[in-house]
Symmetry: C2
C-alpha cells in the first residue's frame, strides 16, 4: 500500500532508544516540513484549483500535527529547538528531474514516499515504545500519513499515464530504500 521497498531496520530503533527526545523534536520539524512541502506545491501549480484545495487541506492537517507534537514535548518538559536536518530529504529531492513535466511528477512522488516512510516508522514506534501515551499518539497519526501518501500518488497520476507514474514511483522507491539503508549518524525521524 505504501510503495516502500524496504522495512526500517533495528539500527534505527536503536537510535530511537538512545535519543528519543531528539527524535521527538525532529518529529515536530518533520510535520512543519510536510506542511511546507504542500505549501510549496500550491505555489508551483497556482492555476490548478482542485490540487490547491487538497494541498491546503494537507497543510492544515500537518500544522495540526506540528502543534500536537509541540504540546507533547511541553508535557514532557523537552525543550523545542532548531535541529540540523538529516540528509534524507535533501538526498531524495536531488533525485527529482529539473524540468517539467518530469519535475512535477517527481515532486509529488517524493512527497508521497516521505509520507510513506513516516507512516511506516509511526507504526514501528507505536509497537516499539513502552510509553503508552507515545504509542497511542503514533497510532493516531498513522492513518493521515497513509492518506497523504495516497493523495500525492493520485496527484502524480493526474499528470501522466498510470504506467509511467508506476515505473517512476518504483525507481524512486528503490532509491529511497537505499538512502534509508545508509541511514544517518544524526538521530532523526528519517535517519
Amino acid at each position: 500500500m505504501l510503495h516502500l521497498q524496504s522495512a526500517s531496520s533495528a539500527r534505527w530503533l536503536a537510535q530511537v532508544d538512545r535519543h528519543l527526545d531528539t527524535i521527538l523534536i525532529d518529529h515536530a520539524h518533520c510535520e512543519k516540513k510536510a506542511a511546507g512541502t504542500a505549501m510549496n506545491l500550491m505555489f508551483a501549480y497556482p492555476g490548478n484549483e482542485p490540487l490547491c484545495r487538497e494541498l491546503a487541506e494537507i497543510v492544515v492537517e500537518e500544522l495540526d500535527h506540528f502543534r500536537q507534537v509541540l504540546d507533547l514535548l511541553a508535557r514532557r518538559s523537552i525543550r523545542f529547538r532548531a535541529l540540523r536536518a538529516s540528509n534524507y530529504g535533501r538526498q531524495l529531492n536531488e533525485l527529482a528531474h529539473k524540468q517539467d513535466p518530469g519535475r512535477a511528477i517527481d515532486r509529488m512522488l517524493i512527497a508521497s514516499l516521505i509520507e510513506a516512510r513516516s507512516c511506516e516508522r509511526f507504526a514501528l514506534l507505536r509497537d516499539h515504545v513502552a510509553d503508552r501515551e507515545l504509542a497511542e499518539f503514533y497510532g493516531s497519526l498513522f492513518e493521515s500519513e497513509a492518506r497523504h501518501h495516497s493523495t500525492y500518488v493520485q496527484f502524480a497520476r493526474e499528470l501522466a499515464d498510470g504506467a509511467t507514474v508506476d515505473a517512476r514511483l518504483s525507481e524512486l522507491a528503490a532509491s529511497e530504500a537505499e538512502i534509508i539503508e545508509r541511514g544517518d549518524s544524526l538521530p532523526r525521524m528519517h535517519s
Copy 2:
C-alpha cells in the same frame, strides 16, 4: 491602529469597478501568499516555539480565507487561474535589510503592513460594492486581517526595543504609501 500613512484612492476603486472578477481571483492568491509568508517565517525562526505556534495559526486562518474565496468564485462561475502578481509585494520586500537582526524585524513589519493594507481595502470594498454577499464577505475578513497586523507588529517588538521598531515601522509605512500611490496598471488587490 493600522499604521498606514495613506488611504486608498478613487483610482483603485475605479479598477475594482472595471475588473472586479480579476480582483476577486487575485484576492485568492493574496490569501495563499499571506499563508506562504507566515510559513516562510516559521522556517526562518525554527527554534522560536511561541512564534512558530502563532505563525502556524496565521497559516491556517489564511488558508481558510483562501478556501472561502475559491468557494465565492465557484458560486459566481468565475474561473480561478494563475495571475501575474502586482509589483506591490516585490517592491515592499526589496526594502528589507539583508541581514539580521534588521532583516527579521523588517520581515515582520512588512508582513504587518501588507495585512494592514488588505484590511483597509477590505473595509473599502465592504462599503463600496453594491453586491450584498460580497460586502458581507469583506466585512467578515476585516477583523482577522487587523489582528494579523497587530500580531506581526508584536513579533517585531519582541526582537527590538519599542522606539526602534516604531521608527522603522514609520519608515516602511511611508514607503508603502508611496508604492500604493504609484499603483499598478494590473488590476489587483494591492494595485
